[in-house]
Amino acid sequence: MTRKQRRLTLIGGSLGVLALAAVLVLSALSDSIVFFNSPSDIAEKKPAAGTRVRIGGLVKPGSLERGESLNVRFAVTDGAHEIAVRYQGIVPDLFREGQGVVTEGKIAADGSFVADSVLAKHDEKYMPREVVDALKKTGRWQEGEMKTDAHVVDKPTMSKTP
């Protein structure tokens, strides 16, 4: 092989691998990304049942119910709208009524939300950035009220997806 042929082999191989990677990335992006929504976004967009989303807001005071075998029900609110959430498992240390929360899961047929992970902030002072943005949209957030921080969302407390 001449130098030119070798270079062509190399370039051809590289392009092949890159094309493979591009296909993988594009297909994975269309399948596996999850959109973040505030309760108002959900009320407005009404995503189809079974859609995987993340919802963020405050745990509505007075909405938390603990049932048998670690079942938890609560409502997530951004002031304007709220959505009922069901979850089975252990909630994070700093999960409390009136505090910020981000949950990930699927919309059920009745419009409620079945979470398979609940993420809470990790420090009393801080609020998940996504929650702050959701609250800002509905005017429930005063600048300077709390310090926001990037380090707030805990790793999820996972339960096996049912």
Partner: protein, 664 residues
């Protein structure tokens, strides 16, 4: 007084840094040896002053001087002494100070141990290193001064984030920074070579030990961070594809590629331009990682303190060094001479294959990490890209890489014989197939992919041993020859085999822990028990304990296997008064390479406690494999060839001696 001295020492380091960034460069352009030699002394002094500054901050922490704002924010007089030391870098300002300390240490190390480098290369490397150092000194002094005072001084500090009050903080950040920052040396070497417009095999030999050292630290640093997250965060996982984790993984992948391409350059004088580019990219990814973690653009676990105004400053540094580095590369690289030829099937070809797949895998991680940020910046839409994305992209790219791994070291340089190598790998193939069959028989067809993962791991392990067997001649040569060959074998060959073996060990741990791990969440009352993976856990009751700066509620469990008690497990919840926050401390019970993992949930009104239990089969192999990889790096680093450095051309040295020489 001490904080002011620390601040002043850092300003002096900056002043020295500016001298070092300019004078040696001028010296190398003019060929003035005195100006070039200056770089060595300034690099050493820079390190001394940064170290003084760091010691000053540490002294403030150890003496709990709450008149320093940084100490007030992140420390507490009741905190155990070890955490007073580690909390120095458990915050933004202090960790940047650690960053520049390590940067200065690497600069000083080049000055001290780079005796065999040509004078101009050494001068230029140290000058470039100082450019980086100066930009970060400025960043600290202008935006993140750790020595700011508070008046009046508070009586008590606000305590360190409880999640950081762990031995992990003593280990993970320094190791990670040694890795991250270590790639700055490769970068400086690359830029220096581009400035000179001359690069050869010797360059690769000089730059390789530094890259290798940084890579080792980064490997261990990432592994320790992963283990820390595993036991501290209480969710039982060891890798979350969190942007901050990815920020450390990307330089690691690029660094791994660099190590391999530098071999080709050193041995065959080929792939020069590519190696220089990789050296620039590896450090660029380190800088991007620093930006992601330190600027607060992420919503992520590790970013402990942040401020958007700092983000812009780091972004400027980023643009200057990455943009400048790549521009210089685009301008000068075409002038570099082409190296040796090789057939596509050869050792060089295999290393190109390695580089191709590693850089592509790195690219997919890059896309997955930055795409959500870009999308949010452009459309305002918020998405999260999690594990499924990376499993679908990174995984498929790593499989061919692992499959090809045992082939590489067995192929001949210039022109290799794939069939011949495949023949020599027959035993490895057989072991892999047996492993697949055994897994299917033992575990049933619960997961179709996992047995192939196990097979791949065993094949790579056996394959890396085949390389050693081939070199030493075990099984085919007389014993005496084998012994002679074993002792005569270059340590880098052992290093390669060990590092590849470690990779396979990690793979084995990942596959078994994620496939056959079990998880159970239950609520238990005192006296009740639950079972998981053949272990019975009985709940013996709760107690309260007081720690130095926290109170903890401990649940006591006895783990039994076949009726025999094998250990106590005491998961707990700690509440820290100063921050009014709670952390869960998981309990781990190690059985061989497997672990039982238990973390505590809420205590209910009826007296029952919620616990999350995991059984993680062979999970320890994940981190042990990483340690084996790093050990391989260490062996390779101790290779005589690297220690001694490039042999100096003897002829040139002897020739001038016969002619007249000016007296020095």
């Amino acid at each position: 007084m001490i904080p002011e001295l620390g601040h002043y020492a850092l300003v002096l380091a900056l002043a020295l840094g500016i001298v070092q960034a300019l004078v040696p460069l001028v010296g190398s352009l003019r060929g003035d040896a005195a100006l070039m030699r200056l770089a060595g002394s300034t690099a050493l002094m820079q390190f001394v002053f940064v170290a003084l500054s760091f010691v000053a901050l540490t002294a403030c922490y150890v003496t709990s001087d709450f008149s320093v704002a940084n100490v007030f924010e992140n420390s507490h007089s009741m905190m155990p002494l070890i955490y007073k030391f580690t909390s120095v870098w458990g915050n933004h300002e202090g960790s940047m100070l650690l960053w520049v300390l390590i940067l200065a240490a690497f600069g000083a190390a080049v000055a001290a141990f780079g005796g065999n480098l040509p004078a101009t290369l050494k001068a230029n490397v140290l000058a470039v290193q100082s450019w980086i150092a100066c930009s970060f000194y400025l960043f600290i002094l202008l935006t993140s001064n750790p020595f700011l005072r508070l008046a009046p001084a508070p009586f008590e500090g606000k305590d360190l984030n409880p999640i950081l009050q762990d031995i992990g903080l003593a280990v993970h950040p320094p190791l990670l920074y040694l890795g991250y920052v270590g790639f700055s040396i490769s970068f400086s070497f690359a830029i220096a070579a581009l400035i000179e417009g001359r690069i050869d095999a010797a360059w690769a030999r000089w730059v390789r030990p530094w890259t290798l050292a940084a890579w080792m630290f980064l490997t261990v640093g990432i592994a320790m961070g992963s283990y820390w997250a595993y036991y501290e965060l209480g969710w039982g996982g060891y890798w979350f594809w969190d942007p901050v984790e990815n920020a450390s993984l990307m330089p690691w992948i690029a660094g791994t590629a660099l190590l391999h391409s530098a071999v080709v350059m050193e041995k065959r004088n080929a792939l020069k331009i590519w190696t220089v580019l990789l050296a620039i990219l590896a450090f660029s990814l380190s800088l991007i990682g620093t930006f992601l973690v330190r600027s607060g653009v992420l919503t992520s676990v590790h970013t402990f303190a942040s401020d958007p105004s700092r983000g812009v400053f780091i972004l400027m540094i980023l643009i200057f060094f990455i943009g400048g580095g790549l521009a210089l590369f685009a301008w000068r690289a075409p002038m570099l001479k082409q190296g040796g030829l090789f057939a596509p099937v050869s050792r060089e070809g295999a290393l190109v294959f390695n580089n191709l797949f590693l850089t592509t895998a790195c690219l997919t991680v890059f896309v997955g990490t930055l795409y959500p940020l870009a999308l949010e910046a452009i459309t305002g839409e918020k998405i999260s890209v999690g594990a499924p994305f990376f499993n679908l992209t990174f995984g498929p790219l790593f499989i061919p890489l692992l499959f090809a791994m045992p082939f590489g070291p067995l192929l001949a340089w210039k022109r290799g014989d794939v069939l011949g190598v495949a023949q020599r790998l027959m035993a490895a193939f057989a072991i892999g197939l047996v492993a697949i069959a055994v897994t299917f028989v033992a575990m049933g067809v619960t997961s179709v992919l996992a047995p192939f993962g196990i097979g791949l791991a065993f094949y790579v392990m056996a394959g890396s041993l085949v390389d050693l067997v081939e070199h030493t001649g075990v099984f085919r040569l007389p014993l005496a020859t084998v012994r002679a060959r074993t002792f005569g074998l270059p340590r880098s060959v052992w290093g390669t085999a060990l590092a590849h073996f470690g990779m396979a060990v990690t793979l084995l741990g990942i596959v078994t822990a994620s496939t056959w791990g079990e998880e159970r969440i239950v609520a238990l009352k005192q006296g009740q028990s639950t079972s998981l993976s053949g272990y019975d856990m009985s709940f013996d009751g709760m107690t309260q304990r007081a720690g130095p700066n926290f109170r903890e509620t401990v649940a006591k469990f006895t783990a039994r296997s076949g009726g025999v008690a094998v250990g106590l497990m005491e998961p707990s919840k700690r509440s820290f008064g100063a921050r009014q926050s709670t952390t869960s401390e998981a309990a781990l019970l190690t059985r061989g390479f497997s672990q039982l993992y238990m973390s505590l949930g809420d205590v209910n009104e009826d007296g029952s406690v919620a616990v999350r239990l995991y059984f993680k089969p062979l999970v320890l192999l994940i981190w042990l494999g990483s340690l084996v990889m790093a050990l391989g790096g260490l062996l390779s680093l101790s290779d005589r060839r690297l220690r001694v450095g490039a042999p100096k051309p003897a002829k040139k040295a002897s020739k001038p001696s016969s002619t007249l020489q000016p007296a020095e």
